[in-house]
Symmetry: C2
Subunit: 234 residues, 2 copies
Amino acid sequence: MGTPRRPVIEVPQPAFLFDLDGTLVDSVYQHVIAWQQALEACGVPLSVWRIHRRIGMSGGLFLNALQRETGRSLDAGTLERLSALHAEAYLRLSGSVVPLPGARELLARLQREGVPFAVATSGAALTATSALDLLGLPAGTPVVTRDLVERAKPDPHLFLAAAELLGVDPRHSFVVGDSIWDLMAAQRAGALGVGLLSGGYGRAELAGAGAYRVYADPAEMLERLEEVGVRPAL
Amino acid sequence: MGTPRRPVIEVPQPAFLFDLDGTLVDSVYQHVIAWQQALEACGVPLSVWRIHRRIGMSGGLFLNALQRETGRSLDAGTLERLSALHAEAYLRLSGSVVPLPGARELLARLQREGVPFAVATSGAALTATSALDLLGLPAGTPVVTRDLVERAKPDPHLFLAAAELLGVDPRHSFVVGDSIWDLMAAQRAGALGVGLLSGGYGRAELAGAGAYRVYADPAEMLERLEEVGVRPAL
């Protein structure tokens, strides 16, 4: 009898697909207030917490949900005007947006260790650019904005496109996001989801949407990086 | 042997002690952004979701928590300046504050049924007045603001003072609030707590802080008023 065969198990280094608003930059509340101002200007009443719960999902689905929750149907012109007013109000408020604690350090650490990562946001290129500028992303970091895919979260397209650009398998990727829409899209993409409290959702909501792990913010995730498969280089 | 004695059980009509911001008026996000602007002006960095989680608690405890979370100790002058800047920024934003759906109708219904109610807020009289004006409170409704008691939530003083003004026993009162600080203060006061999602906390957080029942907003509470002991007059 020979020695027992030791099976070869290969688990690739995971890649990271990051949401942007509320995950890497502290911009969710400015988006909430910007939507509130846009809705008010169009005479559409909606409680602010209901807006907050919809941030990060596709703009089209947001407006669908809006019509359901207000019991009003909005014509195409109003929907376009809402989007434009939101972008305008957000850019006015965006001077107070800063990177979340640990965001720059987390990305720098991944870069140093050679761990692939990308950014995938439901935001339009117009509003995303000012947030991306704060992060000092390494040249060549793939960034997928709403404009580049057919459907936004909770559909998986944004994260699938980000994985494609990185050349990684979504099943070996972690989606990192602050909203239940990120975590639902992670599941749809066949990836694992990491929830961050930094967008204002509670821990139980994120866990209930299937998070593999929940951290306070990028700084806490960085401290516990071995829980998501990144170990210090020897 | 006589007929068995039927015990006399008297349960008084419950009274209601309402929080204000996020419970009756849709003002939490404006308070959050106002604190963020005040902190930024004083050079104190704090993530916006952490501010949100502190809204509704005593200003003194808020500033204590702030010093713990930022690892900085702030002198009395800075603390006073923060409070003043917050009030200023809030009043600037308060034009967009409206009553929450069902708030006016809920209070009118309680009034019509002769159910006692009061308002108890951690806010200062200065910032509370503009919110109270939106509600069309019946003359004589007791209102307790921060200035009138020694300690604010999660200490029970505000709700105990409100019960005292109504001449009711806190044990026969429901505290209605949107934050965990309201629900903690309810428990400290010996009252039952009703949580509302309209301040942006998730259902599990409110349930975890001891809520007897959680509703979306005053409109949903009004629809289910029999669950908190108010039945239509015959």
